[in-house]
Symmetry: C2
């Protein structure tokens, strides 16, 4: 058994004291001299043509320093990539949803800025809107983006094996339709930025982004300013869940207002702003068809998915791609067909949201699996074991699986939930439900889009500096990454100073999303630290006149094994390097991969170059109140194959938080629209779980030791919310025989369902 | 002639717009949430025993969050080095000057903190004080530091050649005594810091220091906290002139107050605080004896120097060392004797101040040279040419001179000042005076104490990042260093992003002092950038299938010479490195030297391991108002051997500023004491030059192209104030025959002198 000094330890987050004390500096805490406050005028109509914008009265208001419309912007459309660009910082011709950015004001305080918004006169020509993606696809529907036929932003057609033959070979064919609702990320910290743009376009922006380096690229593109001019700094960040990956119109607006006013400009979303102007989880409608043999073998599966994009793309095209990949890769199925449509509607735009298309796919597929098990009279766990993925297999849709602990997740979750006994002794209105999932455990899209750098430096004063581009968005990557480095150097993680998330002082990192930081940034840290470790050992070997393999490290010292007292300190080694060799003890690590292999065919949507896949099984136990239809989740088991738990305490934190978010999506969280307008943009009407709503969650960490992950680790961030909703819905069915096919499973739906039985 | 794209260009400071607009963030602009304000209780007596400190009333004042006395401190004495440690952040037993730190308060605002100071009751036992270093050396004088005999903190005895034989071989022996006064640095930005100290001793301090990395070491030592816990950040800095090198008691106090209160704590000096509590230029008394042959050859020289240390050491011992080295190295003299005493008095403590002991030495020596020239009836320039240092010589006191342009300085200054003609046609009350000097052009003390690191990084997005530990203290090093890097890469200096002066994100740098940044940090930048340049050329050579020597760089592209259109961009090369090779285009540079050679004998004070020496000649033209004794400097020529001018505009800025400061020291600046108390701690009574007092200054840049300097450059920061005062005093003598031997040359002294003629 390998010995680890720091990896695998339950170390509290290194930022915990700072955050608990309130001394941690978040973007909202940045106050600059002469700073102005920005407010944005948003479209009150879901779909309209902008005829005229008159800002003259607003400009005259005392305290207003700059008013911005599209005329002041480069009018370059942006999105996650230029291919999908469809959004302007301030719209020029049309407003496409209620909340679309029309104009903005920078003033000496927020009240003045708000007052100025009321003085801006916009003449709109109202256009018919469309809010249902199925309606939007029909010929004759209102056209939201001029060049986009049938409002279909992206369509995916994927087929592998022979779907017809597959279905023909099955003993049972099941078809059904499942739909999911919009969810808001609800990070506790709202979006905020403070920007300075000098007359020479030199930009400095403090911003709570999940991806500072990527944001720099996007700002460079959208503002047509050389990236060399842009400095992105991310202070402590209070949760993202995918909502803080994009270039936000507000960020570009602040920069342009700063340029126009010559002053720093800040914007900070209110909670309402957050609900009505940031991305949401894409609602989907998934029509599934499964073919199964009597023994449970799935011989064919097919999905037709309509994904509601809202008014703009953001991550939509990639989310649809993930929906396909995750649907198609879970379980060993030879014949698969996937048809997906990403459809514009006049509503708030979808974006990256924890799980990235997978929760929608998994809700549908795992509901279907339960329905199949029932029809075959099989235990749902046995059905899943029958079809479970195995390590070192390539799926029919060409996804390479290395480590895989799905079977262990299924069996250990079964054990921990007391599944067999509880199924036997089931009381009325109580039920157990299970769901599994597959997800990326280290980002994806492959080389060129999955990079993370790290620098490790040891100074002559014995200080150890780690620098990474990755942002800790609250999940604890600062702690995890320093643990890995500490483990390599056999030092206390507290002894490592850490710099993160600053485009000037860290190596580029794609960002914190895609459950990629532990895997990708971790790999870079591992590489950089080992480079320095080797330098240390080489120097020490010379000084101590011993072979490198006879040396061991502890507490910033290197000893000759067995020779008590013969040692040299890191500080002495660094001094020697500096003073005698005029070189520095610095190592660099750069993860970037995996290479996109021939398997991957972006036109046929087969293959997916992820460095590692993770698996999980959730088992929910629920109790239903038949009088109200209210669901209580009373027990929850979450078994996760995460390669290795670098810090089990933080892993459990991730799982518990994700399950809570998953329960919210399953039961209470529903961003509701009426004619394109969100009607519940507040925490009173939009219900996220509070601590007292969260059941006991038993986390099971299945350590499969991935061959490519740092210390064998894979990601955990997103996946833990993926199978939660279907596990709950399956448990509800187990309890009362009511099958919920459209989320959330509200008391109303359950009460109605109970009445129909 | 070598071609340079950026080096040698008159580029305005890259921070100029920020500073002129007022958007530059200085330490004083840092405001943190919950921040407290610190005020320090200082000793009202010049010398006393502290009997008791009662803070109970102050602690009870509403708004006071912490009160600190020595009891709350580790009581570790500090100084520039542990050898000379004699100062506590808060004194425990004695107060040794008016201003000594006794207690401190952190409160919600400055007024409350000030009010609390008045509530602290200190019982002092007054002790007899001593204010004159000559008196302080006498037996029976009050003892300031218990263990220090005769109040002599350091004594230097240096002799080379044979001083008695030397004098015996001379035709003329001249002896005289010269004295200089205290000068305040008067940087426009006063000392300020904002410190956070967490319960686990994690420290973050924003501070206007000239040496962040060295400060970290000093804080670590004085507070007994591991350096790994300390993060020093230096924002824009508004002038230092040596006053911001030390660990300030106030910095340690803020940290300890933060620890005690659990809140960030800020201190910002008022101008009065600045005058009464920060270091000053050491007053000296120099008794010189020179032996000269009739032809002007100096055959022997001797100095006995008493330097007034004030109450604590700070840089005193090293300043005395420099006084010796610079006195002894200027001119080719075989037989030298130097005797120096650094003597404690009950006054404000001396410290590093532009020129670091050299202005005092040069004032004495260059006055003496003029007196010798008169006695020999020689032109003062001819006398200096006769004895001038030459390139590639080792002086009698074992200082290695590489490049040396002293002769060029003398002849070109003579030319530019129209010396010959003006001497011929001299009108009454007008005079010309000359003085030369030698100084370090790149720090000193040798390996281990003269280090600077730099990192150069090129990213896949084409951004170029330079990171250096050095601080731009207003002199323009940010501009100079990026010019050097830009020149190596053949890019626009504006294309280079720069990070400086942060212990977490830059390689260690000894600091910005000793005229070392251009030479030392410049060498590191040169090395780091060339490393990356080679990586670029190697990659390009592979891609373009051309030899490296056939490639040329321009605007972030590499071309094959003569093959139009065959090129590859930096961005493509960095991408390729990242994506194909998983490596980063990073280079590191580390200057550290020179090695201390056998020449250097620290016990005999012979030798001095500086990487380069600089030389200069100043010629002042003055006009005296016989009615008032007022001196007008009407013309000024400053010829400087600086190796190479990386940016002539900024070099001229340095020279002009230094000459202004030199004129101030010569004529108006005099920090006056009465019984140990400064009586003119304000800009009304302490007169620095304003822009209208500064004469036309003609700068002559003598480019000797130093063999070791980056692009041949040497330092310019300090030296330009060194020969100013003697040039003026010599000009006064030339004008009216009055020899001023004690600075400053006030109207009173001149008026009195005129009356005696």
């Amino acid at each position: 058994m390998e010995q680890h000094s720091a990896v695998g330890k339950r170390i509290p987050q290194r930022d915990a004291v700072d955050k608990v004390k309130g001394s941690a500096i978040f973007t909202n805490d940045i106050k600059l001299k002469g700073m102005l406050y920005c407010k944005i005028l948003r479209s009150p109509l879901p779909h309209s043509r902008i005829i005229n914008i008159d800002v003259s009265k607003a400009e005259k208001l005392i305290g207003v320093k700059a008013v911005l419309t599209y005329k002041d912007t480069p009018q370059v459309k942006f999105s996650i990539s230029p291919t999908w660009a469809d959004k302007l910082p301030l719209e020029s011709e049309k407003a496409r949803y209620i909340g679309d950015e029309i104009a903005a004001v920078a003033a000496v305080d927020e009240d003045t800025a708000q007052e100025a918004l009321d003085l801006i006169q916009v003449d709109f020509e109202e256009l018919p809107g469309v809010y249902d993606p199925v309606e939007a696809m029909k010929p004759g529907a209102p056209v939201i983006h001029d060049s986009v036929e049938n409002n279909i932003s992206k369509a995916i057609h994927m087929e592998c094996g022979n779907i017809e033959e597959g279905f023909a070979s099955g003993d049972l064919i099941l078809e059904d339709t499942f739909s999911t609702q919009a969810q808001s990320h609800c990070s506790l910290e709202t979006h905020c930025c403070v920007a300075i743009c000098e007359p020479n376009d030199e930009i400095k922006i403090w911003v709570n982004t999940q991806a500072p380096h990527a944001l720099r690229q996007k700002l460079s593109y959208a503002l047509n300013i050389d990236a060399s001019k842009i400095h992105v700094i991310t202070p402590y960040l209070g949760g993202g869940f995918g909502s803080k990956i994009d270039l936000e119109p507000a960020q570009a607006i602040c920069i342009l207002l700063s340029k126009k006013s010559g002053r720093p400009v800040r914007i900070s979303n209110t909670r309402k702003d957050q609900f009505i102007s940031t991305r949401i989880r894409h609602p989907t409608i998934s029509e599934l068809k499964f073919g199964v043999k009597r023994d449970g073998t799935i011989v064919a599966k097919q999905a037709r998915v309509v994904m509601d994009n809202g008014a703009y793309n953001s991550h939509g095209p990639a989310v649809l791609l993930y929906n396909n990949v995750m649907f198609s890769s879970l379980y060993r199925v030879e014949n698969i067909k996937y048809e997906g449509y990403l459809v514009y509607t006049n509503k708030n735009w979808g974006g990256a949201c924890r799980g990235y298309g997978d929760p929608q796919a998994t809700f549908a597929q795992e509901s279907m699996m339960d329905m199949i098990a029932e029809r075959l009279n099989m235990d749902p766990i046995d059905l899943r074991l029958k079809n479970a993925n195995n390590p070192n297999e390539i799926t029919a849709n060409k996804v390479r699986i290395t480590s895989c602990g799905l079977r262990e997740c299924l069996t250990q979750a079964k054990e921990a939930s007391n599944w067999a006994e509880k199924k036997e002794t089931k009381s009325k209105y109580r039920g157990l439900g299970i769901a599994s999932m597959i997800y990326t455990g280290g980002g994806s899209i492959g080389s060129g889009f999955n990079y993370s750098g790290a620098t490790m430096q040891i100074n002559a004063d014995g200080t150890i500096h780690l620098s990474v581009g990755a942002v800790d968005i609250g999940q604890g990557s600062n702690t995890i990454l320093t643990q890995m480095a500490a483990d390599v150097l056999a030092v206390d993680p507290e002894a490592i100073r850490l710099t993160t998330a600053d485009t000037d002082t860290t190596l580029p990192c794609m960002g914190t999303f895609g459950s990629r930081v532990t895997f990708c940034a971790g790999s870079a840290v591992f590489q950089a630290t080992n480079e320095v470790k080797n330098m240390l050992l080489e120097e020490a070997s010379e000084i101590l006149e011993a072979n490198m393999e006879d040396l061991e490290m502890k507490d910033k010292e290197i000893f000759v094994k067995g020779s008590l007292g013969v040692s040299v300190t890191f500080s002495e080694l660094a001094s020697r390097a500096h003073y005698k060799r005029k070189k520095t003890l610095i190592g660099h690590g750069y993860y970037n991969g995996p290479e996109v292999s021939d398997d991957f065919d972006p036109t046929s949507y087969v293959g997916y170059p992820s460095p590692a896949m993770v698996f999980a099984t959730h088992i929910a136990e629920v109790e239903i109140d038949p009088g109200t239809g209210k669901v209580d989740v009373i027990n929850f088991v979450a078994a996760h194959d995460l390669g290795r738990a670098i810090n089990p305490l933080l892993v459990e934190g991730q799982i518990e938080g994700a399950v809570a978010q998953g329960i919210g999506w399953a039961l209470t969280e529903d961003l509701k629209f009426e004619n394109g307008k969100i009607v519940n943009p507040n925490f009173h009407d939009y219900k996220i779980l509070t601590i007292k709503d969260v059941p006991k969650i038993t986390s099971i960490l299945v350590e499969t030791i991935d061959p490519n992950g740092p210390f064998g680790a894979k990601g955990i961030g997103e996946c833990a919310m993926v199978p939660t909703a279907p596990a709950i819905v399956n448990a509800i069915y187990d309890a009362i025989g009511v099958r919920i096919k459209d989320l959330p499973a509200t008391p109303e739906k359950i009460f109605d369902g109970l009445k129909k039985i």
